[in-house]
């Protein structure tokens, strides 16, 4: 055990810091609409031109091929530089792209990987359905093989930023009558294909960040199947371990920054008795102290996760521990904020500002990427070895 970085790692940190300082985009990221998508894409292009696109991708596919510790350093400096969130480029870089790297043909790779890195292709994910959320394997969207095409009919939901996406990683049932994990295929779906209807859904925080996607006889070439017809489940799961890992550090740092911001706020607003700053109220101070301890522990856990990934090559099921804990801490933070800020809690703040709109957004933390209930099942079954329900 040690907390030391090598000299090369320290040099690397300086290089990252300098580059981010001089290249991070100016102004505030728009929080919805075409302007947001364009902003994200332009920032991706800047990173590509600077040689920082796909930091975790292998060099042979145009990535930077960083070690996990280097990725940690990148994300730490990224958060410190207040560089913008990855936004619409997330799925392409962190899920679709890596899935192609592990499973696609050379031609499929050539068509998509460089374009994802340059920001020329925005990807979205088509996995969840109205009847297949936590129980993803019960998905029913159908793909019928007809000649050189797969004809897709059905519906996907919770597809983040589908309205701005060029391509979708689409999981469909291609074997009629198949059950559960069998008979599925993973397709590259061109979002401009005839028969696709995208309906944005507005969240309780007031942003259309995800969509329903309807498929009405959408023809997708058989050559867009990745990993072979009928192997969709294996292909979809092959990159689960690629997600997050060092990227988690940016989220931890943001949570830690917010805790400190709330502590500062508690110095300026009044305590419930109206006579002194809120921070002098023991109950409030202890809630904040506990949050401070929790975000600090999150960082230690994230570092441990990186050490683990460094040894085994994957973050393992323990990644669910981080995800679950982060969600709990962030929700606790915003719920505390709503009590501390008093009458301000009635005023809807701007997106990414203040406490009230982020409070509404924080409900997503125990749902996105697998609900807290599913994370607990994963921890219990894969970390603790408890039996599965039949």
């Amino acid at each position: 055990m040690n907390l030391l970085f090598t000299e090369e790692e320290r040099d690397f940190r300086a290089e990252v810091r300098d580059w981010l300082e001089s290249h991070r985009p100016p102004g505030i990221r728009p929080l919805d609409g075409r302007g947001m998508a364009d902003y994200d894409i332009a920032w991706q292009r800047t990173q590509f031109e600077g040689g920082w696109a796909g930091i975790a991708w292998p060099v042979e596919y145009g990535g930077r091929g960083l070690t996990t510790v280097q990725q940690l350093i990148w994300h730490e400096e990224y958060a410190k530089a207040h560089a913008p969130e990855i936004g619409v480029c997330f799925v392409g870089l962190n899920h679709g792209g890596p899935t192609l790297i592990m499973n696609a043909t050379d031609e499929q790779k050539r068509k998509h990987l460089p374009a994802i890195l340059r920001g020329d292709q925005v990807w979205c994910q088509g996995f969840s359905e109205p009847g297949a959320g936590s129980d993803l394997a019960s998905l029913r969207t159908q793909g019928r093989v007809e000649g050189d095409n797969i004809i897709v009919n059905g519906q996907k939901i919770w597809t983040s930023w589908a309205q701005w996406a060029d391509y979708q990683e689409l999981l469909v049932r291609t074997e009629p009558g198949s059950q559960r994990h069998a008979g599925l295929s993973w397709l590259v779906c061109d979002m401009k294909s005839p028969g696709i209807t995208v309906r944005p859904i507005t969240t309780m925080a007031g942003v259309a960040e995800f969509c329903e996607v309807f498929y009405d006889d959408v023809a997708i070439p058989l050559s867009n199947v990745v990993g072979g017809v009928g192997n969709g489940w294996r292909v979809a799961m092959s990159t689960l371990s690629f997600e997050r890992g060092p990227g988690f550090m940016a989220e931890q740092m943001e949570a830690a920054r917010l805790v400190e911001e709330l502590i500062e706020t508690a110095h300026t607003v009044r305590a419930p008795d109206g006579k002194r700053p809120a921070i002098q109220d023991d109950g409030i101070a202890r809630t904040l102290g506990e949050l401070r301890a929790e975000v600090t522990a999150l960082r230690s856990m994230a570092l441990a996760g990186i050490s683990r990934a460094d040894r085994t090559g994957t973050p393992g099921a323990e990644a669910s521990i981080l995800r679950l804990f982060l969600g709990e801490v962030v929700q606790k933070l915003y719920r505390a904020a709503m009590e501390i800020i008093g009458d301000e809690s009635l005023v809807l703040s701007g997106w990414g500002q203040g406490w009230t709109r982020p409070y509404l957004h924080s409900f997503a933390y125990s749902m996105g990427g697998g609900t807290s209930e599913i994370q607990r099942n994963i921890i219990a079954e894969r970390v603790l070895g408890l039996p599965r329900a039949r």
């Binding site: 040690n2 502590i263 856990m301």
Partner: protein
């Protein structure tokens, strides 16, 4: 940067486990004959060099650091190690840092048993496992000091919540006996992180006991571990244990490297590990159902030890107060 044990540290831990599993069994045999079992173990800790793990070799120690101490105590915590182990390690450190080499060596060799003294209300103190000890470590948030048991003239036995220790109350040390003191803050943090390590082990062990029970216990025709009402509290125990372990290791490394945020990291560890120990023990009682409520089931020992360890570091609330008084470590 690596938060997992190195190969050398793993080897150290493997040896420790082999010893602990036979020396300090966590079952009925242990408490039937606690005094003899633990007295023997406390002697053997000396021959294994545990009391001086973190002291330099010329001082009779093993020349390792706070990280190794924390790793070893996390193992020992799983076996509800006698408080004399913690007290002995702290006493050896205080004696060494105040230049009392002869006192240090009697502790390192196991000749001198050490108890623990913590502040209590209205100027009194509580003595933990001091009945069979010659020396005590007085653990106060501003200073750590070493005193002879004879420094307390009005010791009065009290019934101990934790059957694994003896408890006495006394008024403050009689003034004519000068305790040997060592400069406070750093030693106190060192003490806190070692207690955190014990709580890490406790929270992991009580989780393992509960998981084993949930797998084996059958109701409604299946293991109760199948039910989410059982599975999910166990998953929450895993989250708390993981947070406690790595925050404690972070604190231990910060102390070992004398980092500026050592105090911040250590108080955070105390808050997190303190909760993991108590909350995991509480949850385990419920997993065992009515059996968990009895003395025939081992879980109650974990509940009681969690209370004791939290108390030794002045209680969780005090640790939260320390933490919120710190400057941000960003």
């Amino acid at each position: 940067m690596d938060l997992l044990p190195s190969a050398d540290q793993e080897a150290l831990l493997a040896g420790a486990r082999e010893f602990l599993v036979t020396a300090l069994p966590v079952d009925a045999s242990r408490w039937r004959d606690r005094d003899a079992v633990e007295a023997r173990a406390l002697k053997e800790f000396a021959s294994l060099g545990w009391y001086g793990v973190g002291l330099p070799e010329p001082a009779g120690g093993l020349g390792l650091g706070a990280a190794e101490e924390a790793l070893l105590l996390a193992e020992a915590g799983k076996y509800l190690a006698p408080i004399g182990l913690l007290a002995g390690m702290l006493a050896a450190r205080v004696a060494w840092s105040t230049g009392l080499q002869d006192v240090a060596s009697t502790i390192l060799t196991g000749e001198c048993r050490v108890g623990l003294v913590i502040p209590a209300q209205s100027g009194n103190v509580q003595l933990i496992d001091a009945t069979a000890s010659e020396q005590v470590v007085v653990l106060d948030s501003s200073t750590l000091c070493l005193a002879s048991c004879s420094a307390f003239h009005d010791r009065e036995p009290q019934p101990s919540l934790d059957q694994g220790v003896t408890l006495e109350r006394a008024s403050q040390i009689i003034p004519q006996v000068r305790p040997c003191e060592s400069s406070g803050a750093t030693l106190y943090l060192h003490a806190v992180v070692l207690v955190c390590a014990l709580m890490v082990g406790l929270s992991e062990a009580v989780m393992e006991v509960a998981v084993a029970h949930a797998k084996q216990r059958q109701q409604f025709g299946q293991s109760i571990g199948v039910f989410q009402a059982v599975k999910h509290p166990l998953a929450d125990m895993a989250v708390r244990a993981e947070a406690a372990r790595f925050q404690t290791m972070m604190a231990a490394l910060s102390i070992a490297d004398a980092r500026p945020d050592a105090s911040f990291q250590t108080h955070a560890a105390a808050v997190i590990a303190g909760r993991a120990a108590t909350a995991n023990a509480h949850a385990a009682v419920q997993i065992f159902g009515a059996m968990g409520y009895t003395q025939e089931c081992v879980v109650h020992h974990f509940v009681k030890r969690a209370v004791l360890l939290n108390r030794i570091i002045d209680g969780r609330l005090k640790q939260i107060d320390f933490l919120i008084a710190e400057k941000p470590s960003l």
